[in-house]
């Protein structure tokens, strides 16, 4: 099995003020991607919440169990993460 590949994504967490570089692995699930993006924002610039997170890519909300590779997320693409109950943001 090949080694996991690092994929740099341009990630935005809902209500944050910028998009930023986050490194994920192509084997990461969306649950792990959400955690990696939130690590740079939640508790730093936005308050923590006891809620699930959701990853959105190309306008679709992705299942928490699929991987980066399965979702077709490639390097330098925009990925949006937010609290699950929140409506769609761009």
């Amino acid at each position: 099995m090949p080694d996991p590949q690092t994929i740099p994504i341009n990630a935005k967490f809902d209500d944050d003020f910028i998009t930023q570089l986050v490194l994920v692995l192509d084997t990461d699930t969306m649950r792990e991607v959400a955690t990696k993006v939130a690590h740079h924002v939640v508790g730093k610039r936005l308050p923590k919440r006891d809620a699930d997170m959701v990853v959105r890519y190309q306008g679709r909300s992705l299942s928490p169990d699929i991987t980066v590779a399965e979702a077709g997320i490639t390097a330098q693409q925009n990925v949006y993460v937010g609290w699950a109950e929140k409506g769609m943001m761009p």
Binding site: P8, K12, D16, T19, G43, Q77
Partner: protein
């Protein structure tokens, strides 16, 4: 021998030219350096500067100005004014010295290009004075900053900044390379004297002079006021050039101004905005950045371009909306990534300051309040790691500022998002539609790699925050920190309840 009166010789001397018989005109004024474009060469004979200046007049006036600046500096050098200056104001001065000192030198090169390749002798004469002006500005900035280096090493970045890969300097270099160094003489005249110097230097030199005076930094105020008197003269190279372009190629004139106005607005929103609305002590603030922009830039510039028959740039509504948001997001970014700059960002987020911000910008609390609240909670919980970054913001492929800073949170019209563009299989990211459009049209002239791209290509090692800081030239004694050592956040501490725990 009696000297001729100026009016007897000036009109001939200012415009002396001759027909070259031993060399082609194209060899002397190559198109790629002169930039006549669709304008017939003959048309440039009508170039007429509104401000007449002979070399003898120039030297006499400049000598007087120089004497005044250095006399004030010499008098104040013996005082202890430096010690009494507010740390927030000092940060404004340090940001200015680092970003502006050597950009003045880049302007020397731009003026020299016009002085050699401008297509009218009168224009070339004016540009020679412009080059001398810009040498003077470079020297003044470096000289004034140098005095403080022994007391505060951050002032050393007046000289050092442009020789580093600091992200803010990469943004400035990208703009100034595209404005001053890469273009031909005609485009330089539209971009530098007309758009930047007529449109924007008032912002840095007039607004800042007033804030400097109020903050007690008389030397600085005197220096930049003196600079502005030169700018007001040599900026007038733009008008006659534009007049000729409007007769023969108005589309080029409109596009050149539109793109450079947008890029200048983006850069000044980080260069001047935080200084006016956050670093200047509250009691010394006269106008907000937005108010100053509306009075000095928006109204003046619109009147000016309409006088020449130009239209408002296509993005005007977005630019005006940005006066409410851009510099607040950029300031927040500067504070959060404070270790990446050569000054000490003053948070400007005390309760009184936030009340002022909310009064001047009615959506401030809604848009940035929750983020500052979280940062303040971390400061007061001694969780400083929670106020520092572990990654970089994604940077715009045109203006090199963080993506999201041409927008704001909770802003449905201009939301925080990237505007991507895939070209030749590679995805570029932009902070806004205008940045994306300008890059697409002019990428050969304006493209430079962003810090993110350099990081991902392996140019920065090790590829972590410490490696990035070292690559940017930031040493521990220089890298920024909160101007007031976070004392401003104490008033947000929750009162201590009986028994010693926070309520």
């Amino acid at each position: 021998m009696a000297r001729m009166k100026r009016e007897e010789w000036y009109n001939i001397a200012r415009d002396v030219d001759w027909t070259r018989s031993y060399v082609d005109e194209e060899a002397v004024f190559p198109e790629w350096l002169s930039g006549s474009g669709k304008v017939p060469r003959e048309a440039w004979k009508n170039w007429d500067e509104p401000y007449k200046c002979a070399y003898s007049d120039y030297v006499a006036t400049q000598r007087e100005k120089e004497g005044s600046v250095y006399a004030v500096k010499a008098a104040l050098q013996r005082s202890n004014i430096f010690e009494s200056l507010d740390e927030g104001w000092k940060s404004t001065a340090k940001a200015h010295f680092g970003a502006v000192s050597l950009s003045e030198y880049l302007a020397v090169l731009a003026e020299q290009r016009m002085g050699r390749f401008g297509l009218s002798p009168a224009w070339r004469n004016m540009a020679v004075f412009g080059a001398l002006d810009e040498i003077r500005h470079t020297q003044m900035d470096l000289y004034l900053a140098h005095e403080f280096v022994a007391r505060d090493p951050q002032f050393d970045w007046a000289l050092k900044a442009y020789h580093t890969n600091n992200w803010a300097i990469i943004a400035a270099r990208a703009l100034f390379d595209g404005m001053m160094l890469a273009p031909n003489a005609a485009d330089i005249a539209i971009q530098l004297p007309f758009t930047l110097e007529t449109g924007f230097t008032n912002l840095q030199f007039v607004a800042l002079a007033a804030n400097a005076l109020d903050s007690g930094d008389i030397s600085f105020a005197n220096m930049i006021s003196s600079t502005q008197t030169d700018e007001a003269r040599h900026a007038q190279q733009g008008g006659p050039t534009l007049e000729i372009l409007m007769q023969h190629d108005p589309k080029r004139a409109q596009w050149t101004i539109d793109k450079m106005f947008w890029l200048s607005a983006r850069l000044f929103s980080i260069l001047t905005g935080p200084g006016m609305d956050y670093y200047t002590p509250l009691e010394h603030r006269k106008q907000s950045y937005k108010e100053f922009m509306e009075e000095w830039i928006v109204a003046e510039f619109l009147r000016l371009i309409e006088d020449y028959g130009l239209k408002k740039p296509w993005y005007w509504e977005e630019f005006i909306a940005g006066l409410d948001t851009w510099h607040h997001s950029l300031h927040l970014g500067l504070w959060f990534w404070r270790r990446t700059v050569w000054w000490k960002p003053q948070a400007g987020a005390s309760k009184a300051e936030r009340a002022w911000l909310q009064e001047k910008y009615p959506h401030w609390e809604e848009q940035w309040g929750p983020i500052w609240d979280t940062l303040i909670q971390n400061i007061n919980a001694d969780n400083m790691a929670g106020t520092l970054p572990e990654t970089l913001p994604w940077l715009c492929n045109l203006c090199h500022l963080p993506i999201g800073t041409a927008a704001s949170p909770h802003n449905p019209k201009y939301p925080v998002r990237s505007y991507p563009l895939t070209h030749n299989g590679y995805t570029y990211h932009f902070c806004s539609r205008p940045c994306r459009q300008i890059w697409w049209e002019d990428k050969d002239m304006v493209h430079q790699k962003t810090v993110i791209e350099r990081l991902l290509s392996g140019e920065i090692q090790p590829p972590d925050i410490d490696g990035i800081l070292a690559w940017m030239g930031l040493t521990p004694e220089v890298m920024g920190d909160d101007a007031y050592k976070y004392r401003w956040a104490e008033e947000y501490r929750e009162p201590v309840a009986e028994g010693g725990t926070h309520a």
